[in-house]
């Protein structure tokens, strides 16, 4: 079992999740742009 370094800040998971949702939105937008650019 690895021991966490106590000086490392804890991960703020809510921010990670929010970032993932933003990433998802960006991917959808990019795919839509690709489709519209070449249709």
């Amino acid at each position: 079992m690895t021991h966490k370094n106590p000086t490392e800040p804890p991960i703020r998971w809510n921010r990670v999740y929010a970032g993932i949702l933003v990433w998802l939105t960006v991917m959808i937008a990019l795919m839509r742009w690709l489709m519209q650019s070449y249709s």
């Binding site: 079992m1 690895t2 966490k4 991960i11 998971w13 990670v16 999740y17 993932i20 949702l21 990433w23 998802l24 991917m27 959808i28 795919m31 839509r32 690709l34 489709m35 650019s37 070449y38 249709s39």
Partner: protein, 566 residues
């Protein structure tokens, strides 16, 4: 395949497995065998989760899917990041806190044994069927294209996977998957580069995308609300979220991968790794198929990619079809070349040219369709579809010696990595949820490890046996998703009740699950046309609603009975 291809293929496949077995040779405790030692880091977890989901069907069938129908299938994965967030936030903390080995153990703790068994059995049914397809799919395609006998190919693939899964268990499977996935990604990148390189000199990447778009191959996002449409942004975001939530949250083949982490943080990071990379990876594979489509606009493909079936059509029927097909192809190729050159010169492509291309597309499609009908007339057991053979055909005919072997290895590595997870999970679930719970509760750790090995062998043999009797579905990647969608919704419903609706107890949950499953299967086999992704949502909703109503009924009967006693 040349001698160099055989050497590269065998060295890659055997080498990775041998390395995995060697590095885990001293780790054979129960904890290692079933739980992977609980000390795997996020990188191994992330790649293991990815490798479990990405079977050979992904790499064979997905490019074929986009070759024929375009990029719309990418929408299936839009729900995956949302689902992984929910698994990370809700499922992982509970599983780790309760130290469960299987996901269904949690159902037993929350409800009762029969609900635990229901969850386990639905998983075993669904995953057992899929395990057969995971072995069969690459075997039939590789055997057909390389002219290998099918049965030995199936048996050899299955045997090799069984060997290292029985020997090494979860830890070996996870570590081996890390290297398998890295090799797969490298191989696919090389293949992508060769497709782009193979385009004619006068066709730039931008031209290729333009030609794809002109032929409706770049329709990635569809906002239609028609429930009969198979792939839309709504089926992906809603139905796809439920499918992915069920798959990653309740399917033991995935749960076992991330429960092998050293702590919840590593487990979560491994899942977030997939949340970020899965859609771009699938997009890349689909784009590969679309670029193959463009490649084959300028290099004449055979009238069917399933070359093994061409000879089955009598020569007198085949020859005129092929002649008309070749003529239409050459005409279209000339028109396309002119169109691309006009576009490069900054000119608008006239509508008449586009209409002419469409007319020639229709003519080519007509010849292919006529050929497929003639094939089925000559051999009623023959499959009409050939999309699954596109990618491998390209590899065999266009990659240099050595790299062909690497790409064939990629197909086998992908099949093996997924099958290994499946067998590992099937055996663990059988041992923990059925054998240890119902048959032999007080065995030693050594005894349970041996029983798990025997179950791994048993499920492996069943999967190989099932693979030997399968026929091709219309499209294999759809088949796997359809089977999943028919069972996952119910299991997910049980877990969501367990997490969020404390009022519902074992009897009601069990009743809800059984009724929902019967209704989902009934609906699927009925004439009503619903996109298969919606069955996840349906199964889940039905389980929850019926269980809730059943609990209300039980509570009212209980209070009526206690009132009558006072």
């Amino acid at each position: 395949m040349t001698a160099a291809d055989w050497l590269v293929m065998l060295a890659t496949v055997i080498g990775i497995v041998a390395y995995g077995l060697w590095t885990t040779r001293r780790h054979h405790s129960g904890s290692d065998f079933i739980r992977g030692g609980n000390d795997l880091k996020w990188g191994t977890i992330g790649l293991s989760v990815m490798a479990t989901q990405a079977s050979a069907v992904t790499f064979l069938s997905t490019p074929g899917q986009s070759y024929e129908q375009g990029m719309a299938f990418v929408q299936n994965y839009l729900g995956l990041p949302i689902a992984l967030i929910l698994v990370s936030a809700v499922f992982i903390p509970i599983f780790f806190r309760l130290k469960v080995v299987t996901a269904y153990e949690y159902l037993g703790q929350r409800f009762d044994q029969k609900t635990r068994l229901l969850g386990a059995i639905l998983f075993l049914l669904q995953r057992g069927l899929s395990a057969g397809i995971t072995i069969y799919a690459p075997a039939i395609i590789v055997a057909s294209i390389l002219h290998w006998p099918l049965a030995p190919t199936i048996i050899l693939t299955g045997f090799f996977v069984i060997l290292y899964t029985v020997t090494g268990g979860t830890r070996t499977v996870s570590l081996t998957q890390k290297y398998q996935m890295l090799t797969i990604l490298a191989g696919m990148t090389i293949a992508f580069a060769y497709v782009v390189k193979g385009l004619p000199d006068f066709v730039t990447f931008d031209d290729a995308l333009y030609l794809a778009g002109m032929n409706q191959r770049l329709d990635t996002v569809n906002f239609s609300v028609d429930p009969g449409e198979r792939y839309t942004i709504w089926t992906g975001l809603i139905g796809g979220t439920f499918l992915a939530l069920s798959y990653f949250g309740t399917d033991q083949s995935q749960v076992q991968r991330y429960l092998a982490a050293n702590n919840t943080t590593s487990s979560r990071i491994g899942l977030m790794f997939n949340a970020v990379l899965k859609i771009p990876m699938q997009f890349g594979i689909l784009l590969l198929g679309v670029l193959l489509f463009v490649f084959y606009l300028f290099h004449q493909p055979p009238i069917t990619f399933n070359r093994g079936s061409i000879e089955q059509v009598p020569q007198e029927i085949r020859a005129p079809l092929e002649a008309r097909y070749t003529e239409a192809f050459e005409q279209r190729q000339a028109v396309l070349r002119t169109a691309v050159e006009q576009r490069s010169a900054g000119e608008e492509i006239p509508p008449e040219t586009k209409a002419q291309i469409q007319q020639l597309n229709d003519e080519i499609a007509e010849q292919k369709s006529a050929f497929k009908s003639a094939l089925v007339a000559a051999n009623p057991k023959a499959s009409k579809q050939d999309a699954d053979y596109v990618f491998l055909s390209f590899v065999l005919e266009n990659l240099p010696s050595g790299l062909v072997g690497l790409l064939i290895a990629v197909i086998f590595l992908a099949a093996m990595s997924s099958t290994a997870s499946e067998l590992n999970a099937l055996a663990s679930t059988t041992m923990v949820d059925i054998y240890k719970t119902l048959i032999h509760r007080t065995g030693s750790e050594k005894h349970y490890v041996w029983i798990t090995r025997i179950f791994t062998l048993g499920w492996g043999i069943l999967a190989v046996g099932f693979a030997m009797t399968l026929k091709l579905f219309e499209n294999l990647i759809e088949a796997i998703n359809i089977i999943g969608s028919l069972f996952y919704g119910t299991v997910l419903g049980l877990f969501l009740i367990a997490f969020f609706i404390k009022k519902i107890q074992g009897h009601a949950a069990f009743f809800g699950g059984v009724c929902a499953e019967i209704m989902v299967l009934g609906l699927y086999f009925s004439p009503i046309d619903i996109g298969y992704l919606w069955f996840n949502l349906l199964g889940c909703a039905l389980t929850m609603v019926i269980a809730y109503l059943a609990q209300i009924l039980l509570d009212s009967r209980r209070s009526a009975s206690s009132l009558s006693q006072t």
